[in-house]
Subunit: 435 residues, 2 copies
């Protein structure tokens, strides 16, 4: 006889319905893997969802009924947001329930507090679905790569952003144009700020960084720069230089601290991750023992995300009656292990740069630019200089620099922008070799 | 105080030394993840290894001393082979020790017996390192994708084979030539049969298939075809058709049974896995809920493989004192779950095909070939017909077919080969869309 694991699900939107549908369709298989009889004993949903047949399940319109239901072993939070969701999760924990969530915003902002509450109560909080949808990336970093000192990781962890950049490259389309399509297709929210300004990716990045480095979640220290200013021209020049522009979340253990940053990035076209297109996600993780490893799959959607929720349910089911010490710690490290490493301000981060300038079509401009760069110890690794187009007096000048501190580069750029022969702000995109 | 986990390591070759070096270098980090004090208390090695400083460790020249050492909690088998290794592993299990191994041949051939012995003794056998080196693919399928009915998986799981095919494509080199280089570089064994005839990949494939489908290990039912007959011309024609040739291990749940096959395969060049080059490995897994996911990394080498061994040690450490039911079952499914699905003989497998014929340069040949194919219900999806080269009377004729049963295709080929106008055996490579 399999032991029952009684699951309560709160929220029956996209991920909630995907989760219920998977648990129903694959029940015998999932139970065989878990070694348990996984039962949905209650669903908290304000209304029905046409994508999910809930006949046979106990439904309540009040999600807190689930959190207070003494029969529920595991509460699955799929309502989203950071207010009610936080209260719901903490209520469940205080009632001694394990919690599973897909809510990256909640974990990124309140994870430290939530994990502490869970530890005090001897329950676990699992969140595989919160990062990169169906890709089991949390498990990979936390368990699969447990032998490694992680050096860095870089992820395409926002599908909408990747869809936009892919379309811009494949079809030469403009940002605004593709964004509208993404909204029409339902990829991007009506307010797309979270996607295109890197906020959603930042939520996921801090989670990955904590798992990788054993640091607390520090969402306020992530540097984010959106993809809204990427021009079709930059996509094309990048291609000409052998690079692609991807919106990456990057976490790196540098000499002086940890880098946490989300921004559009030129990466060599021949890297596997440069070929991750459309709404797909991928995370590249570099460990000192294993070298680079990459994890690829759907970053969102009802069933891909539900797949991760259910894998968390199986994990929880397996150790439901075990001592807490037999469970994997929420962030991978035991509580006594704290890495005291500062998060580097972006000024101190070192990367290479792509620079695009609009220069007056006269001799001597390049030499002036090169002199300024050289004054700041910056060298030019590659260059494209085009002829002026018919009727235009300015020529584009595209440079790739060596690795240099952000602050130093910014100072050099202001000097360049003050040149008479440079007519527009210098476009600057960071470049990473990812090797 | 962390609880001690006492590890005994048998074999101090490539993987043994990598494992010891990682455990030493990253000890504090690994212990923090495991929540245990992981101690190497004995190493069984016939001789020293210059890549590994074992001062401070207790060394024995008799590996069975480790298996019989009452202080050892976990025995790590890294000697390879299926004779002594089997005896060593079973001895350790009978002595109540957990076992970790990187030995794919051993698991593929004797896994069923070994897992049964482990179950009877309430210990676990872990083998993450046995498939795809440092990639945590066992964990991904067994736990990360636990929600999914796996539909199929396809892996580049032999680095030597992939290195050879990559060099053939990138540099137009011939098979024999690259094989010699691979041997010189130490990638391929002096006897390269295991690599180039698909035997090593078959070992790994049956393990992946068991994890994916819940079937017993059936190494004798895997169909294998080597890459030794791949000609540079085929690599080039494939490219022209938008494909790449990769040596894949494929496991698929088909209507009538499970397919288990290792063979060179044309795959669309735009698939991510088609871009996995050199000695790198990757496994593409298609789940019904999550869709396609891919896992990429180093498939061999001292530390990448050691990374997986150590992740298994951490897993075992975590549940060392837990009841067996709290551990993940060796093959992912509870013992009562048995899928009764036959393994399909290759004759009944359905795929698309790439065919290359050497045809007399006369009108009417193509029509004869097309008629024969059509008699067998086979349609032509794409074609390349080249002009005869100076001084040659034969022209190459390259076809891509629709999906058809292997037996039917073979019958069609024998009819084609009996045509007067076809002068050499028809070259036939399977084609998979992988979507
Ligand atoms: N969608 C994805 O692909 C995806 C991927 C990864 C992670 N996630 C995360 O998964 C979570 C759920 O996302 P989703 O896409 O499934 O959202 P959704 O489709 O908007 O569903 C949210 C559900 O929660 C309910 N809900 C919201 N606030 C509630 C409240 N205060 N009380 C009761 N019910 C409430 C909603 O009910 P009403 O319909 O009545 O408003 C709806 O049923 C979010 O944290 C999201 O970030 C989503
Ligand atoms: N190398 C890789 O990258 C890799 C990757 C994945 C999996 N694996 C698997 O890992 C295992 C070990 O491979 P490896 O590459 O580390 O092999 P290896 O370098 O040949 O090392 C094998 C070690 O075991 C010792 N040994 C062999 N037979 C023994 C016996 N009967 N009694 C005592 N010691 C014995 C050898 O000692 P001597 O030196 O005295 O012979 C040597 O120290 C194999 O199962 C292999 O398939 C290897």
């Amino acid at each position: 006889m399999l032991k029952p694991v009684r699951v309560g699900i709160c929220g029956l939107g996209t991920v909630g319905s995907g989760t219920v549908n998977i648990l129903k369709r694959n029940k015998s298989l999932i139970d065989a893997r878990a070694g348990s009889d996984i039962q949905i004993i209650q669903i908290g949903a304000r209304r029905d969802n046409p994508h999910c047949d809930t006949s046979g399940y106990a439904i309540t319109r009040d999600i807190f009924e689930v959190a207070n239901n003494p029969d529920v072993d595991v509460l699955v939070e799929l309502i989203g947001g950071t207010t009610v969701a936080k209260e719901l999760v903490l209520t469940a924990i205080n009632n001694g329930k394990h919690v599973i969530t897909a809510n990256k915003a909640l974990i990124a902002h309140y994870g430290n507090e939530i994990f502490a509450a869970a530890k005090a109560k001897g329950v676990t909080v699992a969140f595989e679905a919160a990062v990169a949808g169906g890709i089991p990336i949390i498990k990979a970093i936390r368990e699969g790569l447990a032998a490694n000192r992680i050096e860095w990781l870089a992820g395409i962890i926002n599908g909408t952003g990747n869809f936009i950049l892919t379309e811009m490259r494949d079809k030469g389309r403009a940002f605004e144009d593709v964004l509208k399509e993404a909204q029409a297709l339902g990829y991007a929210e009506a307010d797309p700020t979270f996607d295109v300004e890197g906020i959603d990716a930042a939520h996921k990045l801090v989670i990955l960084a904590s798992l990788a480095f054993g640091i607390p979640l520090e969402i306020n220290k992530v540097f984010t720069e959106g993809i809204t200013k990427i021009a079709s021209a930059d996509v094309a020049y990048a291609e000409e230089l052998g690079y692609r522009i991807k919106n990456l979340g990057i976490a790196r253990r540098a000499a002086k601290g940890i880098e946490l940053r989300v921004h559009p990035t030129l990466i060599p076209a021949k890297r596997l991750i440069a070929n991750v297109d459309g709404v797909m996600n991928a995370v590249l993780v570099k460990g000192d023992a294993v070298g680079p490893t990459l994890y690829y799959g759907a970053g969102a959607g009802a069933e891909p995300t539900g797949s991760s929720v259910v894998s968390d349910i199986v994990d929880v089911a397996r150790t439901l009656t075990a001592d807490p010490e037999h469970r994997v710690p929420c962030l991978g490290f035991g509580a006594d292990f704290v890495i005291e490493q500062p998060i580097l301000p972006i000024d101190e981060v070192e990367t290479a740069y792509y620079l695009r300038m609009s220069a007056v079509d006269k001799p001597g401009v390049l030499s002036k630019v090169a002199t300024i760069l050289s004054d700041y110890g910056i060298s030019i690794e590659a260059m494209i200089q085009k002829e002026a187009k018919e009727g235009e007096s300015d020529v584009p000048l595209i440079l790739l620099t060596n690795r240099v501190q952000e602050k130093r580069l910014r100072d050099a750029i202001s000097r360049i922008e003050s040149l008479d022969s440079i007519n527009a702000p210098v476009v600057r995109i960071r470049v990473e070799a990812l090797k």
